[in-house]
């Protein structure tokens, strides 16, 4: 190939990338997107990767869909609440609130617009709606969009039917999922850049379930996030009842069973839903919300949806692990001040980080209504 052909090829590539709206950062996340309408069965989870690439976990369809959003106009969140958010989201698609299910929520890293995955429980259709800084609700239509569809690896057991969470890990996407008929933990690793023929890897994990006092391989991870310490990359996952565990990513190999190190036990009766890391006043924290299925028996507050703030440094623990992991509670009393129940976040069903100082939540209110709110990070 001569120099002219090379330059022409590069120009054509650049034109193609621009024609499908792919920024340089997005090119690290996905490769060779096609423009069209992805076929999906249902949206389980949505998260963002760099470049504003929307990652859609379709559990029933057993696939990951990565979409270039081309949404870069930064929002200013002067409106701190959108009252009646469930009613408004439902009304925007023309149905009463009782027919709507809010499945997942994520903040676009560039525009700071909130993306909400909802489902019409009558037609079973999944829709992605957006909420901007003025509270205006619109649709992010999955039509004629640049995207990549990656089937999830099958593994040797039953297929994935429900994705519990997914996260961009810098060089891959990690997906936690559960099966329907088996009590099984499934974690999939899909290398980046994502493309249609990406070969993901399903691997199993070995986890010390602190409150159960047993090593287990079957309890499914319900939420996860990336973590790096000392140059080593980890995925930090949380499980029902409620250990927080880190797994080294460099041990993820075909056929491997990745052994985790349990660092914290948040107490029984909680099902983690989402988490992210942030920094405040020079200190790192993890904010995690959970559904407390023991709410009637032993409530922490007025709502079964509770939120914990965990000192990020606890994830670096090297000695007090597994059987010696730190318990949040001693009996019913707090055992440490490094993990706190965030009372101002009671009722939070979905959360994501908005910026350096704020989070966006969808929460229940004591009145029974729901709202989307911008809250200071605790």
């Amino acid at each position: 190939m001569n120099r002219q052909q090379l330059i022409l090829g590069q120009l054509l590539t650049l034109t193609l990338m621009m024609s499908v709206g792919q920024t340089g950062i997005a090119a690290e996340v996905l490769r060779n997107p096609v423009k069209g309408t992805p076929t999906l069965k249902a949206i389980s989870v949505i998260r963002f990767a760099p470049g504003g690439v929307l990652l859609i976990g379709d559990g029933p369809g057993s696939q990951l869909i990565a979409v270039v959003t081309n949404d870069s106009q930064k929002q200013s969140w002067e409106q701190k609440t959108v009252e009646g958010i469930t009613e408004k989201l439902a009304a925007r698609i023309g149905i009463p609130a009782k027919e709507l299910e809010i499945r997942s929520m994520a903040v676009h890293p560039e525009s700071l617009k909130v993306y909400v995955a909802v489902a019409n429980t009558r037609t079973k259709q999944s829709v992605i709606l957006t909420v901007d800084g003025r509270g205006t609700i619109d649709e992010f239509a999955l039509e004629n969009v640049p995207h990549v569809v990656v089937p999830l690896p099958k593994g040797e057991q039953s297929p994935v039917t429900r994705i519990t969470d997914l996260a961009w890990m810098g060089d891959r996407v990690l997906i936690s999922a559960t099966a329907n008929e088996e009590f099984a933990a499934k974690v999939c690793s899909i290398p980046a850049p994502l493309e249609a023929n990406s070969k993901g890897l399903a691997f199993s994990t070995e986890t010390y379930h602190v409150s159960h006092r047993k090593w287990e391989t079957r309890a499914p991870m319900t939420t996860l996030m990336p973590y790096e310490q000392g140059g080593r990359k980890y995925v930090v996952g949380a499980f029902a009842c409620t250990p927080v565990v880190r797994y080294p990513l460099d041990e993820v190999q075909p056929g491997a069973k990745v052994k985790g190190e349990s660092v914290i036990e948040l107490g029984s009766g909680n099902q983690p839903r989402g988490m992210f890391a942030y920094e405040k006043d020079g200190q790192g924290y993890v904010l995690m919300n959970a559904y407390r299925f023991h709410h009637e028996r032993r409530p922490y507050g007025w709502s079964p949806y509770v939120t914990f703030r965990i000192e990020l440094g606890l994830l670096d623990e090297r000695e007090k692990l597994n059987e010696s992991a730190l318990y949040r509670l001693a009996g019913t009393k707090p055992a440490t001040d490094r993990i706190r129940l965030v009372e101002e976040y009671f009722g939070v069903m979905h959360l994501d980080r908005l910026d350096k100082t704020q989070a966006v939540v969808i929460r229940q209110l004591p009145s029974g209504n729901t709202e989307l709110a911008v809250l200071p990070l605790p």
Binding site: A91, G94, R122, K124, D138, S211, T217
Partner: protein
């Protein structure tokens, strides 16, 4: 603008032709309801100045919503709900709107027309209710037995119609003790529906089943042996149409000692169908098994390892698996292969009990593949090593 209009026409769906009023703009909207697809088309005649401003073709929502909006109806005259997402299209003197998504049968809607120089006009209508049909029912609950181990892991609830999903499902399904008192927090609150939302896999919380686990120690097991319980599905549970169950469902059962041993690979029997027929091949397990897993965990292969096509059934209190072949059985050898991850009602597999500590996991290698040979007569035999290479009666 003209170019955009052309492009818009190429990609937009063709709206239905509605009569246009012509010269005089009236703001009264015309509503055409398509009950089958649960959608509407709303049209309004535009005043002359707007007709001239807008080219024919798609109109953006931000523009269209200034003049014509459809809202989910509220009790107040001024709708508080945001306008419904949809597509706008101008053709001639008419602006049309069609919702992006199906509307809700039986729900009320309000059209609001605000054309310049005219007072706002509102028109309400109701979408026709869904065609009447039978309300949903519980058509099956597995396991079917009325004697169950106290460490039962899950139920499968089958409904006659796709159900409305959402976390409130768990509040409408109860386990009652022998005195009719609901047991607190019995369920693992993870919604696990099948593809069409007609089957719910309802797990008893594993943390209250496993011995030595603090959840069980704090709260006690959900089920105790030698007690009577009732699974109760409340009639408030609704289907995807919003229709409640025809009636409450109850399944009363008695518990026995927990099963904490692996599924044995002895004690199985096989019923061999006659060659030349499509009668079912049957496996009889020594104990009831998980129905959903049993249905897909047994494979029949020809002697050269080709899959025998057919259909499986599970009957007899989830102890018998049947395979009805698509074609007639031949008078030759077949292989039956069982998946090592097949579970019983307590989650035990061939390889390990459900309550396993993986650090003391037994290194089991159960026998899971058997050769059978079909002949002219049906036979019922133990499935085991003695069956290997056994020949039946010759034709």
């Amino acid at each position: 603008m003209q170019t955009l209009g052309i492009i818009g026409m190429l990609i937009a769906a063709n709206p239905p032709d509605l009569p246009t009023d012509g010269a005089i703009a009236t703001s009264a909207p015309r509503i055409e309801i398509d009950a089958t697809r649960a959608t509407v088309t709303v049209a309004v005649s535009l005043p002359t100045n707007l007709i001239e401003q807008l080219p024919d073709g798609p109109v953006t929502s931000s523009v269209g919503e200034r003049w014509l909006r459809l809202h989910l109806s509220t009790a107040t005259e001024s709708p508080e709900n945001p306008p419904i997402l949809g597509r706008y299209h101008k053709k001639g003197t008419t602006l049309r709107f069609s919702p992006r998504f199906p509307l809700s049968p039986g729900s009320g809607y309000q059209v609001v027309v605000t054309l310049p120089g005219q007072p706002p006009k509102r028109q309400v209508f109701q979408m026709p209710a869904s065609p009447s049909g039978p309300p949903p029912e519980v058509v099956g609950v597995y396991p079917t037995a009325d004697v169950l181990p106290a460490n039962l892991l899950k139920f499968y609830l089958h409904f006659s119609y796709p159900m409305r999903t959402g976390p409130t499902v768990f509040e409408q399904i109860q386990l009652l003790d022998g005195k009719g008192v609901p047991i607190q927090d019995p369920w693992r609150r993870t919604e696990l529906w099948n593809d069409d939302d007609t089957r719910l896999t309802l797990w008893i919380h594993p943390g209250r089943i496993k011995t030595g686990v603090n959840l069980r120690e704090q709260l006690g097991p959900v089920l105790q042996p030698n007690q009577e319980y009732t699974l109760r599905i409340l009639p408030t549970l609704v289907d995807a149409r919003g229709r409640p169950l025809a009636r409450e469902f109850r399944k009363t059962f008695r518990t026995v000692t927990p099963i904490r041993e692996v599924i044995p690979d002895d004690g199985w029997k096989v019923s061999l169908p006659p060659a030349g027929t499509r009668q079912p091949l049957k496996l009889h397990a020594p104990r009831p098994l998980d129905r959903a897993l049993y249905l897909r965990s047994v494979t029949v292969l020809t002697s050269d390892h080709q899959l025998v096509l057919g259909q499986s059934q599970v009957t007899s209190g989830e102890k018998t698996w049947s395979w009805i072949p698509a074609a007639e059985w031949r008078s030759e050898k077949y292989m039956i292969v069982l998946d090592e991850l097949l579970e019983d009602l307590a989650g035990n597999t061939f390889l390990s009990p459900f309550e396993r500590d993986i650090q003391s996991l037994m290194n089991r290698k159960p026998r899971l593949a058997y050769t059978i040979e079909l002949c002219a007569s049906p036979q019922k035999l133990p499935l085991g090593p003695a069956l290997e290479l056994r020949r039946g009666l010759a034709r």
